[in-house]
Amino acid sequence: MTNIEKYKQVFITLFGVKEKELQKLTYQGVDAWDSVGHMGLITELEETFNIMIETDDIIDFNSFLKGYEILSKYVTF
């Protein structure tokens, strides 16, 4: 899997969403992506890419697209 595929897969698995919904997916846009879901998301991304996401990035990460932009600092897509 490429990194972008891995990134997408984390959302699909954790939040039970379809690939075509990802582009518009935002924090609290689906029930599963609440603060509990966000903790799970960050942990899963950190494990998948073997990184540590900084506090400012965790609280700035409010959509699928924003997350992609943020993760580009840590991961080569």
């Binding site: 954790l14 039970g16 924090y27 029930d31 599963a32 609440d34 603060s35 509990v36 879901g37 966000h38 903790m39 799970g40 960050i42 506090t55 400012d56 965790i58 609280i59 700035d60 409010n62």
Partner: protein
């Protein structure tokens, strides 16, 4: 009356006097004592509605604004409220007769078909037993319960009019509501936000409005830890409180030492909705010397322990059921509208269902639970009730777990996604809290009861 009671996310200041005006407007529409379903969120409309109902002796049933439409319809049938107070964005989700009042992006909807029925004179509000939306059982809270508990909390937390708590918990949840009540009682200013700790806007709001305290369940502290809270510079923040379940040792030490180091006060507390909110607290100076303790009873309250025969345990370090006495002990439960006429059934005594011991300094420690309860993100969940819910869709299952994690044993693993979705919707709990294990069959004894100890080996 010219003091600010609420500052909202957008910086709007609302005065104590504004709430009185709002309350008078509502009284013109609802002229008599009756039942109102209040769909709560941490916004102005929700809080103003709540204060107005209480002031006008109208009885609100506190529900989360995100409640599933179907569940709400079921509750409306059971409790026959005459009005529904809800955020405007949910108006289209319900069939209603008419909108009779609007304010702060909330609407008051009237159900013409529901008529008056007796409400006990002391009954002030109804709170869900678990904080989640899955149950139709509510706790009956009296006016005295609210006032006494708020005053006691304000006393031991030394709340005065200079306090500025920022909202971190839903106001429909007993702990979240107790923060609002105890501060409003003292003329403090509540920083009202529906943003979560995971959002930048929350932190900007906390800093610019100089929040002086925040409240959290164990999961809140897990988040704070993940956000490396102890490295943040938050000089205005002086008090942290924690309740809604036991904090693990690592977090307890981390937060306690951080607070001692940085001159903040950290209060670990214990309570139940059945006691309005709060029953005990651990004084901050004891947070490291009495590890794991729920502390001492709040002012006006009293703890004791009883053995299996109901006899009081006088010795130290003997485990028994924790019993609380105080004027904040609720009137009892309700499972339908007809229960709302009932008298106080608890008479100031609550058998908590928690097993505890007392040390030689009379500090209490929870060591277990009498019934199969666990805490999920601060909400008390009965595992037996969860099994009952699941048995609506699966032939057999078993639930075990620990705080913040429920394990569901099923016999057909192909249905995991469906079951996970069902239980999450029914309980209002994030699906991540549930994990699944498959077993060939659920082990039972000859009486047909599940043998939980054999689940993992089957």
């Amino acid at each position: 009356m010219n003091k600010t009671i609420i500052i909202t996310e957008d910086g709007t200041h609302v005065l104590y006097g504004d709430i009185s005006d709002f309350s008078e407007s509502i009284l013109k529409v609802i002229e008599h004592r009756c039942l109102v379903f209040c769909l709560c969120q941490n916004t102005l409309g929700s809080v103003c509605g709540y204060f107005s109902f209480i002031a006008n002796r109208i009885v609100p049933v506190m529900l989360d604004s995100k409640i599933n439409t179907e569940l709400l319809a079921g509750l409306i049938k059971l409790y026959k409220p005459q009005y529904l107070w809800l955020p405007d964005h949910r108006l289209n989700d319900f069939q209603h007769d008419k909108i009779v009042f609007t304010g702060h992006n909330y609407s008051l909807v009237k159900f013409d078909g529901n008529h008056d029925f007796p409400l006990h004179n002391d009954l002030a509000l109804l709170l869900t037993t678990s904080g989640s939306t899955g149950s139709s059982k509510f706790v009956r809270i009296s006016y005295e319960n609210i006032e006494v508990n708020a005053a006691s909390i304000a006393h031991y937390l030394s709340i005065d009019e200079n306090e500025r708590p920022v909202t971190t918990l839903p106001m429909g949840y007993s702990y979240g509501l107790s923060v609002i009540n105890s501060h409003a009682l003292k003329g403090a200013t509540i920083l009202l936000t529906s943003k979560t700790l995971m959002e930048k806007d929350f932190w900007t709001f906390l800093k610019t409005q100089k929040a002086s305290s925040l409240a959290g369940v164990p999961y809140t502290y897990k988040i704070l830890n993940k956000l490396q809270f102890s490295r943040m510079d938050l000089p205005s923040l002086k008090t942290l409180t924690q309740a809604g379940g036991r904090l693990n040792k690592e977090l307890r030490n981390e937060i306690s030492s951080f607070c001692l180091r940085s001159g903040k006060q950290f209060f670990m507390m214990y309570g139940q909705t059945e006691a309005t909110a709060r029953m005990s607290y651990l004084p901050p100076q004891d947070s490291l010397t009495k590890p794991g303790s729920i502390g001492i009873a709040i002012p006006g309250g009293e703890f004791s322990l009883i053995d299996e025969n109901g006899t009081e345990i006088k010795e130290h370090d003997i485990t028994g059921e924790l019993v609380y006495k105080g004027k904040n002990v609720s009137m009892g439960y309700a499972t339908c509208f007809d229960d709302l006429r009932k008298e106080d059934e608890n008479h100031g005594t609550l058998f908590t269902g928690d097993l505890a011991r007392r040390d030689s300094d009379n500090f209490y420690y929870i060591v277990g639970r009498k019934r199969r309860f666990i805490k999920i993100f601060g909400n008390r969940i009965n595992l037996d009730e969860t099994e009952c819910l699941l048995e609506n869709i699966v032939p057999d299952c078993a639930c075990t777990g620990e705080d913040d994690h429920i394990i569901i044993y099923i016999t057909d693993k192909n249905r995991i996604a469906e079951i996970q979705n069902y239980i999450s919707v029914k309980t209002g709990i994030n699906p991540a809290a549930f994990s699944f294990r498959q077993c060939a069959e659920i082990p039972k004894n000859s009486a047909g009861k599940t043998i939980y100890s054999e689940l993992d080996i089957s």
